[in-house]
Amino acid sequence: MKDVFIQGPIDPEMIAGSVAAHQKKKHIGAHHLFLGQVRADEMQGSRVKAIEYSAQKEIANRVIHEIREEAFERFELCCLHVYHSLGKVEAGSICFFVFVSSGHRHKSREALGFLVDAIKARAPIFGKEILEDGNHQWKTNK
């Protein structure tokens, strides 16, 4: 089973490289990418400086594997990649990367929405929001 976790932020160069690597797959007609970025939310009179991610990796990897299988069954996809950060990611950096490719745009667009929502809802991943004033609070998904 694939380990989706990357220590620290996801490098934009890696994302560009991932797109370039698909240029030789000429049956693909559409890519959809989701890039989650750490937002400097204002809270408690301070601002989010970074998020420190943790996870139950074994379960999270298995759940994401199952979600991938579901996506391949439901949508006509050529390929599909998921990466998520662990550890500290500064505001403005990328923490979540989902990359879906299909013959046509409708399928990849639908699949991307399904994947992002399902991973957020079903994978045991947690985020500690570190504030500029040294306090912290725990991230909740809306």
């Binding site: 379960i59 992002v116 809802a121 991943i125 985020g127 725990w138």
Partner: protein, 79 residues
Amino acid sequence: MKIKVNYFGRLAELAGTDSEQIALTAEPDSENLLKQLEEKHPLLKGQVSALAINGEILQKRIKLRAGDEADLFPPFAGG
């Protein structure tokens, strides 16, 4: 009968530890484990959103055996 309990995210702060061994005092099942943990760490009350035993997230009450490992989760917050 002892089992290992791991606390994730905010729950580790509320319990004051990442992990501990618990000797079960009642009938060994998942509901009684949660009850016992909430009695030991009252701040956990109402904060546990999912429980996994040996790497499987539970959908219903199950019996526990010596050596089982429990993971307690707050609401998931990936992305």
